[in-house]
């Protein structure tokens, strides 16, 4: 049994949170550069130029890339041969999150659903984090993190289709969601699609799809082909960077496909803005 201390988890999470707010990861940056090269609209090209400059300023001056520093979302894989000493894993992740958001001068964005009161006093600064935990083989803890902004969550949708709607039904649904979203989720976007499973499995899969390295195809060649097809379809919409019209609306489509019930075809679309702030650590 390998032991990992609570305090080590807190410290690692805190550092990751601060670093991720100001450093756009290489995969997202490369995709933005590629979009800048390909874009045909001069207005959209200007926007993409600003985004690249923004990433540069954020990194060099340690300023948050965006004022919406997001809710903290984690997918954590815990090896079965790990023992956490000194406290609970969830508490350590929440503590690291809170300290990162405070020490990094990031925004506290959690509030009560109805009173809209900020929860920084009652629960904690930008707490609670959204934490998904899975138990796996081995003696490590792998923590994948994303700072997820509100604008792109607001346009995300899930629906259970009739099985007869099939592949074309999925294409139509995803296209409608992205078309309706237009400029609001800060395009160019990354589109996470969860297909199959149950209702919540589809939704969680669409979120997890956004944690993948931008543009890396699904290992299943058939699913990878579907990703390419959807990417082509969505870029025909002409929405462009910040919705001002252009050829580069979607940077990547990531699909996670699961077996489903004989009666259903669940599909969920989770949208990620161009500021795809994610990273991972292994302890």
């Amino acid at each position: 049994m390998r032991e990992i201390a609570y305090d080590d988890i807190v410290k690692a999470v805190k550092n990751m949170v601060i670093h991720t707010a100001t450093n756009l990861p290489k995969d997202a940056l490369d995709k933005l550069k590629e979009a800048y090269e390909k874009e045909k609209s001069p207005v959209a090209k200007k926007v993409l130029e600003q985004l690249l400059e923004n990433a540069d300023i954020a990194r060099k001056e340690e300023r948050p890339l965006c004022q919406d520093t997001g809710l903290a979302v984690y997918f954590i894989k815990v090896g079965q041969n790990v023992k956490i000493t000194g406290g609970l894993l969830k508490d350590a992740v929440n503590e690291g999150t809170e300290r990162g958001y405070i020490e990094g001068y990031l925004r506290a964005s959690t509030c009560d659903c109805f009173t809209r009161e900020n929860l920084k006093e009652k629960i904690g600064y930008n707490l609670p984090a959204v934490i998904h935990i899975d138990l796996v083989e081995g003696e490590n803890i792998e923590i994948e993190y994303a700072a997820k902004g509100g604008g792109s969550e607001n346009v995300s949708r899930a629906r259970v289709l009739a099985p007869a709607q099939g592949r074309q039904g999925v294409i139509d649904f995803v296209r409608d969601v992205i078309s309706e979203a237009g400029p609001n989720p800060c395009p160019p976007i990354i589109v996470g699609v969860g297909i199959g499973g149950t209702f919540e499995k589809a939704a969680i899969s669409s979120k997890y799809a956004l944690f993948r390295e931008a543009g890396k195809p699904n290992p299943d060649p058939e699913v990878a082909e579907f990703e390419k097809e959807l990417l082509y379809e969505l870029n025909k919409l002409g929405i462009g960077a910040m919705g001002m019209g252009g050829t580069q609306t979607v940077l990547a489509v990531h699909i996670e496909k699961n077996p489903c019930h004989i009666a259903s075809l669940p599909v969920s679309v989770n949208v990620q803005c161009h500021s795809s702030r994610h990273s991972h650590i292994t302890l």
Binding site: I57, P64, Q67, N184, C186, K236, G238, M242, M244, G245
Partner: protein, 186 residues
């Protein structure tokens, strides 16, 4: 063809009449921040015929909830938030002299109609460019509703703050026009 303008606030009717959807504008001078909660309070004050915390005549409001400033800096990162949440309040403010709004994302028909009728414009700033835009804010001061935190009303002094005209005073909409131009239909 898109034009470039350098304008100082407050904005006049003449300034507004020269702007067309798709034009790029570099704004300098004083602008005010307000999000959902502050908008509700401003509209309540107008309805109760009470004094507003800043003059609306010719004013520009920026929809933003910045990150906390680091020591010695006026403001943190400060890019635009999604504007539709202000749609139910903006027409009242426009009727009372507001000339410009800065945000991101679509506005409803009532806002576009008010821009046309009372000569105002809706500017888009680049969402997610908070580090870049925050640097162009030279001074920031909370002038009302401090208890709202990131949603308090701030007076900002900006220099060459880059925005694009989305909805002009002639009923044009860059989101619709731009998209039509690049849409591929089978």
């Amino acid at each position: 063809m898109s034009q470039v303008h350098y304008l100082n606030t407050p904005l006049s009717n003449e300034d507004i009449q020269n702007l067309k959807a798709g034009d790029i504008v570099y704004l300098s001078g004083i602008i005010f921040t307000a999000r959902d909660a502050a908008h509700k309070r401003l509209v309540d004050l107008i309805e109760n015929k009470e004094e507003l915390p800043f003059p609306l005549d010719g004013a520009v409001i920026y929809f933003v909830g910045p990150t906390p400033p680091k020591p010695g800096e006026p403001i943190g990162s400060a890019g635009p938030t999604t504007s539709y949440r202000m749609d139910s309040y903006s027409p009242t403010l426009i009727r009372h002299g507001l000339k410009g709004m800065i945000g991101k994302g679509k506005r409803n028909q009532e806002v576009k109609d008010a821009c046309k009728k009372y000569k105002a414009v809706y500017f888009g700033a680049t969402g997610g460019a908070g580090a870049l835009l925050g640097k162009l804010i030279k001074e920031a001061k909370v002038i009302a509703y401090e208890e709202l935190g990131p949603e308090a009303i701030r007076m900002l002094r900006v220099e060459n703050f880059p925005v694009t005209v989305i909805n002009d005073a002639y009923g044009n909409d860059l989101y619709e026009e731009g998209r039509r131009q690049y849409e591929i239909k089978d």
